[in-house]
Amino acid sequence: MTTTAVPAEPVPMRVSYRDRLRRLVSPMLFMTPAGVLTVAFFFLPVIILFGISLTNLSSSTGFKNYEWVGFENYVKIVQNPLTKLNLIATIKYVSLTLVFFNIGMALVVALLSTHISRRAGFVYRALWLLPRLTPSVVYIMMWKFIGADSPYGIMNQHVLEPLGLSTANWVAARPWLFVILTNGFIGASFGMIIFTSAIESIPRDYMIAAQVDGCNAWQRIRHVILPMMRWPLLFVVTYQTLSLLTSFEQIYLLTDGAGGTEVWALWAYHRALNNYWGNFQWGFGAALAMVLVAIGIVASVVYMRFFQFNALVQEPKIEAM
């Protein structure tokens, strides 16, 4: 950054009260819009969510006749027979997508695309970004068609039939496969970009030294690249675990929770805001969401501590004038 000779900070003279107040005016001006919206759509909602989770508020009680029920909703979660199933689905969804795509595929694509010509590598990485930019409804529609019934579906028509294998509507027959594929192809790009910049920042000398020592490609990856990527890997794992835990848009569009794919976040959404019976259980849904919010708060605080937050928030170099 700029290290040009900078005149020393003016020695602060006695600052009058009015001046001090005036100094607060401009930051206030700049910060107010962001501040108001953050309070209205982040802080208040967390408090409201906790409040609602302590009531039996639902479309049958209406907005007026609800009662405070303490932690009854949380007790209900523990007793609900669906809890175990949906918890297992959530763990399955998060761990499989994370391992195979957000980490696994991301690493593979990053490694491969950094070992070919720069231009080609860029094109491949850009292609992998496309699923994330595509409107989710259009994107899921493509996958539905890839797995659609014979003779329409692409998998059936171009892969399975020529091989003489049996055909099916694969989204319905293998919901998990498709849930993980659709989310994975979106999720992989995040890790891919982080890993790519990590790989590109490894000093060339190390690679050349390894080659001189007679390492093959796999040994180079295993003993030079991977050990230097501990931090980016850890970062992507923690960040993506949290994202996956709370994402449900693609699952909603693809299976709507059918076939055992009702993950926790989708369960909360169904109960509180979207179900066929029109009975919205805001209280119970809020308790379900609160579980995720609690995990989110704990995880993000831990994660800030972990990734050296103080280095990121140094004081500005220019002083208030």
Binding site: L37, V108, M141, M142, K144, F145, I154, A289, V313
Partner: protein, 295 residues
């Protein structure tokens, strides 16, 4: 090079191509399908199942269904509101966080970072109640022209929610861009008695144009494809967005007419592909600058 070495250097290309096939195939299908009566896999066929049947009929929704233009306008309105809102508010806050020292700065920055990692979709239930409360406000709630207001079941309300949820990423990126601007000019201007606001507008904003462009494009694409929030908070069909409209098309007829649905999908995809082809570098820079991973 021996043939063995040549094969060795081709292997990464082959593997990458194989891994990327599903992405290719999906987009290829959507393009073929929109111009065919129906498709068997990627092959356009006529009603007898023979090769052929190319047609423009799937695009007839453009002149037969007036709804498409309403929802397109709504989507455009939402994306523009979202982009303008996010860029202006994050540029304001990002500047203050980068350049002014004031009490609470560190707390706000920490908050921004935590919110950046925080899964905001879990708050939809309570945001529903916040929006319903805003609806009860006079005029602001649901009495404004064009955007409808900022309450429940209005385009303005959805834009407001989406702006708020996009702010942590926006502020963080903007602060990063401002941090990299040398402050000699700014300092000179301040000494000459320029106000902070004028410095922001006349000196700082022009020097981070590429950053503003990247954030605008990314935000516009996000708004254009948004499904969950508009779908949850807008109940009237005529106020809904393209994504919600497309979703309802897929749900309504029992054997879904994929070719027709695909045409609507491609219609929605056009601006995204346009931006993608011409601005990939900007977009990749957004993600390496610190990304909010959707999934």
């Amino acid at each position: 090079m021996t043939w063995k070495q040549r094969l060795g250097s081709a292997i990464p290309y082959i593997l990458l191509t194989i891994l990327t096939i599903p992405v290719f195939v999906g987009y290829l299908w959507i393009i073929i399908s929109t111009f065919s009566g129906r498709t068997y896999g990627l092959v356009p066929v006529d009603s007898q199942g023979n090769f052929g049947g190319l047609t423009l009929e799937n695009w007839s929704f453009l002149w037969e269904d007036p709804n498409i233009w309403f929802v397109t306008l709504n989507t455009l309105l939402l994306s523009v509101l979202l982009t303008v809102g996010v860029v202006i508010i994050s540029a304001l806050a990002g500047y203050a966080l980068s350049r002014i020292s004031f009490p609470g700065r560190k707390t706000f920055l920490a908050g921004t970072l935590i919110l950046h990692a925080f899964p905001s979709v879990t708050l939809l239930i309570s945001i529903y109640f916040v929006l319903r409360w805003i609806s009860n406000l006079p005029v602001l709630g649901k009495g404004l022209p064009i955007i409808g207001g900022f309450g429940y079941n209005t385009v303005g309300g959805v834009a407001l929610v989406m702006v708020s949820l996009s702010l942590p990423l926006g502020i963080w990126l903007m602060k990063g861009f401002f941090d990299n601007v040398s402050w000699d000019m700014e300092r000179a201007a301040l000494i000459d008695g320029c106000s902070r606001l004028r410095v922001w507008w006349e000196i700082m904003l022009p020097s981070i144009k590429p950053g503003i462009a990247a954030l605008s494009i990314f935000t516009f694409i996000t708004g254009w494809g948004a499904f969950l929030i508009p779908y949850t908070f807008i109940t009237d069909q005529e106020k809904s967005t393209l994504a919600a409209y497309l979703n309802s098309l897929m749900g309504e007829t029992a054997p879904v007419n994929y070719s027709r649905v695909a045409a609507v999908g491609l219609f929605q995809l056009i601006p995204v592909l346009f931006f993608f082809i011409f601005t990939q570098e900007y977009l990749l820079s957004i993600f390496s600058g610190g990304s909010k991973g959707g999934t």
